[in-house]
Symmetry: C2
Subunit: 335 residues, 2 copies
């Protein structure tokens, strides 16, 4: 295991006026069921997966039987893995879910923040309302957490590190990554986030990619969560967001998920591949560009698709629409 800064390589460049203005460095790994297929930077670099771990955090929802006991739909499973924009679609669905549990918004432990969705944000401002916990981008994950908690008849403080739910998440994380966790931290939404290597995260994604139905609770859960995400790009993020636009561009065949501070993962069932990457400085544009380039490299995404060009090689424009520069991948990445 290595510090996040050790052995990173330049992956993405920002150009202006014919000059290089910024560079993002990263670690990236592609795995299949057997192990590492390709790597850039240091696969042993320890990272927090942040929200890219949502499909790991959702495993107990299925494995305990809580999801089926409540009759959750595929859309609910997608929302449980989402970092959503807090649009009316997301907030309404989370609100109904919490109500179906016989609980209220105050039972959530994710905290409140202004939604990314402009329409819902402007509606709140015009109505003089404050955002609530349902607007938190993690409210779907936390609705899933509450579903498990009620099913297990466990205590209400479900984000405590010693809560049975978080113990189950930790155990599942170690099993799927094939690693003992490297530590843990508190995430933006107050849930524990378990540290792992970039290689371990890619290995976990490869397990999802190769999971089959009818081969036990673990494989079945991974299979269902992957299909749910790929089938509902609008629920996993929102309009204009990379996860939503790139999953749409790939026609529901691939599940991808971003995480705060420059993390991105992808699950490619048809190819049996998992991808994980971390931008060392935490830059979102670098992570979006790098996952786009890797998806194109493995043949899952058309690099000429507008959603791909915009993030990997797009012309940048200013407030008056004037061209100011462009993005490009650094020499040698992904090769």
């Amino acid at each position: 295991m290595a510090k996040v800064s050790e052995g990173a390589i330049p992956v993405m460049e920002v150009w202006r006026g014919g000059l290089l203005e910024c560079v993002h460095q990263a670690h990236a790994v592609i795995c299949d069921a057997k192990g590492v297929v390709a790597a850039w930077g240091n696969p042993q670099a320890v990272i927090f997966p942040r929200s890219s771990a949502k499909m790991l955090q959702a495993l107990p929802l299925l494995e305990t039987g809580a999801a089926d006991a409540l009759g959750l739909s595929q859309a609910h499973l997608a929302l449980s893995c989402a970092s959503h924009e807090g649009a009316a679609l997301h907030v309404g669905m989370a609100a109904r879910w919490i109500a179906d549990l016989g609980l209220t918004e105050s039972d959530l432990r994710c905290g409140a923040h202004e939604p990314g969705d402009r329409t819902e944000r402007d509606r709140l401002i015009r109505a003089g309302e404050r955002p609530c916990q349902l607007h938190n981008n993690c409210s779907g994950k936390h609705s899933g957490f509450l579903t498990v908690t009620r099913h297990l008849k466990a205590g209400p403080e479900y984000v405590d590190i010693d809560h049975p739910l978080q113990k189950a998440v930790r155990a599942a994380t170690e099993e799927v990554t094939g690693e003992t966790i490297a530590g843990w931290g508190v995430d933006g939404c107050s849930a524990p986030n378990f540290a792992m290597t970039v290689g371990g995260l890619a290995r976990a994604m490869a397990q999802y990619a190769t999971a089959r139905e009818g081969y036990g609770a673990r494989e079945s859960a991974m299979h269902r969560l992957t299909r749910a995400m790929a089938a509902h790009p609008d629920l996993v993020a929102g309009e204009g967001r990379a996860c939503t636009e790139l999953m749409r561009a790939m026609g529901g065949r691939v599940a991808i998920k971003t995480g705060a501070e420059g993390v991105f993962v992808a699950i490619l069932p048809e190819k049996g591949l998992g991808i994980a990457l971390k931008i060392v400085d935490g830059g979102t544009r670098g992570a979006e560009a790098a996952i786009t380039a890797l998806l194109a490299r493995v043949g899952a995404l058309d690099p000429a698709h507008p959603a791909a060009v915009k993030r990997m090689a797009g012309v940048q424009r200013n407030w008056r629409g004037l061209e100011t520069g462009f993005y490009r991948m650094a020499d040698g990445f992904p090769g």
Copy 2:
């Protein structure tokens, strides 16, 4: 001269749960009137100063006599160097300035964007109004540009690279940095932005720091702009912003200015020093932390001041106020 990525060093770290989560790399230079006093990374790295060049772009406003012909106050000079929040204070002042010129908002060439100031943003949304060019964070600089343009009886397209105003900015930039420009690009506000080395930018800031009144138009202009910025921290940025909070913490003795994509500069008249730095990945938090650390190192800023702690060594909290980690400077920076 070197590419921005060559020879950068780690300066700022983001920690979570006892583990390093992100690292920002940078170049930083401190100069006095004679040259480089201290440097980290590569002083020859070529950068776009972006909005940290606003005091260079404001030189023709004073040197042509345009400012005094219109009777501009010290506050106007501060606003001409601002990247402001588009609060009512800033928008109102720019609106009156443009009206005093006998011009209208449509004569600006900066483009419109939503203001950073929450009160003004919410007011616009409630009123169903769209932001105008006066809300652009650069509307003060552009008001200054229009003032020079009218004074010179030059054409209305004042952001064109061949416009007399931009030729004057370029000449002043080369003289004050002591360098031929390394190129130019179009900035977010559509004005040309001239590329230079980090060392050249620091040298320019040292010229401002040591400029005297009554020693010619250039020194007088640099002296007045520095005092205007230091005396009006609220106009240069806005509530909650690093420039405003740190200048207030230094009691009007120092002028500092941020620029997009991780640039920060400082002018320290009492010490005769100029500082310039660039975060290679463009990260704002890294630039704010690094300038804070350098201002503390040269004895201009109390590192225990809340505005300093928040940016250089602050505990980070999530939406529920829980502690998630902290910021710290990397080993060896600034030493």
